[in-house]
Symmetry: D2
Subunit: 294 residues, 4 copies
């Protein structure tokens, strides 16, 4: 099975590697680019081409990017890059970025006659490897139609959330916000239960076995119950970044997010106590400290 589209792929972290590999296996011709060279070699061994530079990755019908944050994405908005992109290219940005960057990215691509689609995802690396991501897409319908087969390789379902790319980014920030709230709530509830002589492990056991099943409560809940925050599934500093992005997104449209304010403060507290690189489930330690628990 060979696909006609040439796909540039930018960003070969744990998520990007898994996703690019799936595209290769699905028969796409994939030109990968990454700042550090090791993942490029890994992908070319699987059948991808090395793009050489960002420009090479943008010499494609579709470029998929999966980068860490706004600053990493910023170079792809460079007019000098976009001016030399293959005519008709559609850029599918799957990173979790700010609403502001999403807006500027869409405009920058449009300025050069290029398509831009936002398609951030829900799911961790194993889910990406299995091609089972939940894909939150937004952009013009015609563009979404065009990249749909490609997204079908990467995820089990693509949600179409609106015509403007930033709408997808807002949904993604909202979803992460829900995760943050769930962790923060478990952190507080665990402190309460422990303080009266109960066991937070029981609390997590009860709820995941009944009202709150699923990976967020069971995964982060186990970390909280065991007070084990390493290895980090998602680092507290990244959690703080995402909560701040949600607060900023809210601020732009005058939507107060009071639970987010509480989480921001607690994550700052975690970082101030040296837990920035531990999992954001370390919010449980913040709650314990505030209660004077050892």
């Amino acid at each position: 099975m060979t696909q006609e589209l040439t796909v540039g792929f930018v960003g070969l972290g744990a998520m990007g590697r898994a996703m690019a590999g799936n595209l290769v296996r699905a028969g796409y011709r994939v030109r990968v680019w990454n700042r550090s060279p090791a993942p490029v070699a890994e992908l070319t061994a699987q059948g991808a081409d090395a793009a050489g530079d960002l420009r090479g990755a943008f010499d494609a019908d579709v470029v998929v990017s999966m980068l860490a944050d706004d600053p990493a994405v910023e170079p792809m908005l460079d007019p000098a890059l976009l001016a030399t992109a293959r005519p008709g290219l559609v850029h599918v940005n799957m990173a979790t970025v700010s609403v502001d960057l999403a807006r500027r990215a869409a405009a920058a691509h449009a300025d050069h006659g290029l398509g831009y689609v936002a398609a951030p995802v829900l799911g961790r690396p194993p889910v990406a490897e299995a091609g089972q991501l939940a894909i939150l897409a937004a952009g013009q319908s015609a563009l979404l139609d065009r990249v749909d087969p490609l997204l079908a390789v990467l995820g089990r379902r693509t949600w179409r959330l609106g015509d403007e790319p930033y709408i997808a980014n807002t949904h993604k920030l909202a979803a992460n916000y829900l995760i943050a709230c769930a962790i923060g709530a478990m952190a507080e509830a665990a402190a309460l239960v422990d303080a009266v002589g109960g066991r937070s492990a029981d609390l997590i056991g009860v709820i995941t076995d009944s009202i709150l099943p699923g990976p967020v409560h069971s995964g982060y809940g186990a970390m909280i119950a065991e007070r084990r925050y390493e290895p980090a599934g998602f680092r507290a500093v990244l959690g703080l970044k995402d909560v701040n992005l949600a607060l900023t997104a809210g601020g732009e449209v005058n939507v107060p997010l009071p639970l987010g304010g509480v989480l921001r403060d607690a994550l700052l507290d975690a970082v101030a106590h040296g837990d920035g690189d531990r999992d954001w489930a370390a919010l449980a330690e913040v709650a314990r400290r505030h209660a004077g628990l050892a």
Copy 2:
């Protein structure tokens, strides 16, 4: 199948009716009592006996009570009642009550040589009917052993959370707290998504299909997405009561619960706007109002 224990049952609301019926069907001799007579008739039609008064219900080996709140439970702490209870009686209080009441109840029963077990539950009436409740039990081991077969009829699993009854009540308040946080978080996230031109129904669809499955997010999430808060699954005034109970429980052991403070304020706001008797998912309307959304 006939059981040897005689069981008093106090409180025949939607939950209590289902639970008492299951005990009857399991072969227990059940003496039911309820403030209003209609549910008593319903249960005697199923094979229960009418206790006549509270005192009659306490003339049993075990009395199970399932009442609405602290004031409803208070009469069962009356020394005049407890003095006339059948010797050796064990009271299994399955209501969601305050930690303070749980402590006083345990002491009052002990004063009269009676056993007291707290066993609040997670699950709505259909779950109760199916005998599939999650039961959060605490009390002396010997007492828990004694009522275990009975609890096995009512739920699919009994968690033993500690020797002191109030520990179970604290777990229950903590579990409700997690539900409240989940609803409050969805309310805010939905307002954000709607404000940028997305659809909160999509947000709920995405998360319940991936990271946050389960009855809390799908049930209350649907109400939020549809902005339909009637009929109420759980009324906002009751949600406010439970959040206040959690805050009070935290206050007694110096555990700050900052997310709960936010929820308390939002629920007060809901009540102030006439939504006290609608479902507490009406928190979504509070978030919308604060954002100036129509």
Copy 3:
């Protein structure tokens, strides 16, 4: 100068002693009562009579009470006491009590044909000694007229805030709430300034010399700048009690007080860290801890 009214006076703490002494010096016949005897002796040495018991204090034209909190006030609502009070007595309760107690107290006195006026005060013991308290009074006009000369001895101004006594208590709780917010804000701002290498003493100096003069900012501000919380002007546990009373008063009329929720959490945190008996300016230590400052 001798006054015709006989005044019972209940509660001879630091505030009450100063106030009762002023009444004696103004020529009133004052019958004092206090749980511990030493202050009674001090006042009789100044010319007061010892009431012997609460009943003796209520054998008067006006009884003024100045007690610590709700539980201390509760015995004065006892029907057995009120039934034996001198006919026509007016009780002027100058303590900071809950809105709920204020309502019950008014009703209990009315049941026995007695008058009840709430008149909590702003000012510390030296202000009380100087007869310069700000008096926040509420109750029926005729009753306020009657006790007005007496209040004029105790304070420099009596504010008439409404016909229902609890309105005065609400104003008092609101005033204390403003103090709590001022302290909490200085605590956070001081942590910010210190964290960037500034000096919180400068911040306090700047503001008290310009935009925020007055005893609250200069007094508590100095404690914060010096990180000296003893001797306590007002203990953290009492601050927590008053913030909780304000939150409860708000809850009864559906008024969310979100700043108060933050203060409640911070005060709980202070108590959890052993600062309950230090001045509530120790909120500054809470802010420092959350920021990881030594």
Copy 4:
């Protein structure tokens, strides 16, 4: 009285006009520049020179700037401008700007061998006219010494807060934060008092007459009591900007500011309801709305 220093002055809003005028009257040769021409004419009529452009203003021994916000200040960091400034120039930036901009500004000036001092102020236009501002200065001692006579013309006291300019900006943000908290607290307390049938005007009267005197509580308090938010002393959008600057400053050094989170949400709510250009005392309307008060 003639001074030897030539002073450039950038920014002739209500504050800048008053300050530049005072410098002219003190005998300085002042070269003024402003984006719109009218205030320039007003100042030249008082004896100032028109600088013609920003470059002209920077052809001076000292340049004082008093602009609205970060974007307005940004052009003064342009290397092309700084490269042509008079050698030895000291820039005294008296605006309320972000900590981040303060850091970048200091570095940009140092790159060109120029001095940079931050000297934001507390005080409104009438205070500026009277030369009675409180000046919060930070920068190298030698530079502060040099501009001290000039600052003495503008204010009644100059506080030296540190060697790094951003420290002064942090103090200024902290001071504004205290004002915001005071207003927010009065807003909530007023809603509480009004909700129980009291009068918020009484509350404001009581506190400004006793524990919380001074311009912040009496000025904004009057607006709250009268529910009159126009003309704005300080617009809600600017208040929101400053609270956000404080939160950001805190975020950079891991200092949580939970009261600020509450204020941010309330100010967003105010803006969402069309009160962005009214005085930030309109926070009182937010508190009223949340309580369901008309």
